[in-house]
Symmetry: C3
Subunit: 204 residues, 3 copies
């Protein structure tokens, strides 16, 4: 198993867990939980593959995903009580997922010969779209629109990857730095309540 | 007209009728009803074609669908009073639609050299997605998340098709058995209130 | 810069402005406004490219869009007070956008060898989808379902283009006539409250 496939599997697990946690919070039935976990885990990669014309989409050509996701769902349901006590579980798994998927999207963009800006856009969409679908289907306000830095972390992490790779850092190291940068930035943004500047006059 | 095209047309009509019934229940105007009928009838096939890279998508290459859907819409509007008295009309047309579209999706998956599991996943998505879009646009809880067996019927019917085809039954017979299995299983599940097992502790 | 690219850029600007106006009305933060502007401006073209298999989608292969949209967003935010006083701004920019995008979609359909009916369908979807996404994400009833002629204007404008082109009018002139026809028909429909015929009996 190569490096990128490992990143893909870890991201799939992280997003599947986050999907199960949101779906169980909404008390969906077993099938509903499985669907939400699938949609969260493969939504971003599906949008990415469709936009660049990489069809049949990745998860349809490889039984890895349909094997890993149900196993993850079962284990998460069984251990959901333990995860519930860890209040930050959902946040943590979602954050790990966006870090891994941002860089996977950038990688696929480079393979499709897109410019760095488009690779970063593709990475951000890959990272965000599964969570947006999860939240829409569970009738939550999409996480990307909540007042915290989310896509901004993806964009900055992706930019950092291109900068340090340009400065001579080997691709795989730069890749890991990019993943960690997204994760750390989002955690710091939430911990210190960093927000984007306000564009409205303060009247209301 | 070949066998598969006949199945496709029957599925298109069944889903278009189900779209009209939901849209009229919401009292949308003529254009709204037409749009919902279209989206319900072509939504599943469009997702299917996009995921396997079968573009331009089927309904754009063939005037059959844009001819059949408006005719179906007009006839359904004219005879809607008769259909309303048959209380089960919506359920029946939706169920016939998912039976036909499940097998159509499996057929297209086989053509794209997907594995049987992926063919069944593709068939289930082909069958469900039009109804999900219909329900989201009409502000209903998507039928797939309601507490009745829906996608499960598609999965079991698709699995049955592969098993009996493997056992030597000719493809077209196995195909018809698959369609009927989906329809019968969903009708039985609703009649006898068969549900998926509960994954929550009984406290709340 | 060719004629069609100019039309594309004008449409992108018009839809980006309409996205900013809706998003600011909902008081989204800076990132939310930018996302809504992007989705409104590129949503229709993305759906169009996916349906005909024109991938990577147009806006990913060309830095024009990612340059123009943020500049448009900034200028619209800065001058939003001026635009607010012009009560009809949103309606006007949205209407200009659908006129331009309808004909762009038809053009792309012709390139993909689709029949005229399918070109008109593709043009209507190209024109409507960005606004539908904008309204869904901002939790508004999609403009296309409100009681005014919207998609009908696209369909009639597209039909007019094919008729006068068939009658011998040069393509670029017919194209401009098509754009203006969509815009004028929608303005007239709103001003004179022209609606589609009612399909319900008047009882309730």
């Amino acid at each position: 198993m190569g490096f990128y496939q490992l990143v893909d599997i870890l991201g799939t697990i992280a997003f599947a867990v986050s999907g199960v946690l949101v779906a169980m919070d909404k008390r969906l039935d077993l099938f509903g939980v499985l669907i939400i976990a699938f949609v969260t885990a493969i939504g971003g990669g599906t949008l990415r593959d469709l936009l660049i014309g990489n069809t049949p989409v990745t998860w349809m050509r490889d039984l890895t995903y349909v094997t890993i996701i149900p196993i993850t769902v079962l284990l998460t349901i069984i251990f959901s009580h333990q995860l519930k006590y860890l209040r930050k579980s959902l946040f943590l798994f979602d954050t790990i997922g966006i870090g891994l998927y941002t860089m996977l999207g950038i990688e696929k963009g480079l393979e499709a010969n897109l410019s760095p800006i488009m690779c970063i856009a593709l990475g951000t969409m890959t990272a965000s779209f599964g969570g947006v679908l999860r939240d829409i289907l569970c009738n939550e306000i999409p996480v990307i629109f909540r007042k915290e830095i989310y896509a901004t972390a993806c964009i900055l992490g992706g930019t950092l990857y291109f900068i340090i790779h340009l400065l001579g850092v080997a691709e795989e190291y730069a890749y890991v730095v990019g993943i960690l940068a997204v994760i750390v930035m989002r955690i710091l943004a939430v911990r210190f309540s960093i927000r984007l500047p306000n564009i409205y006059s303060s009247k209301n």
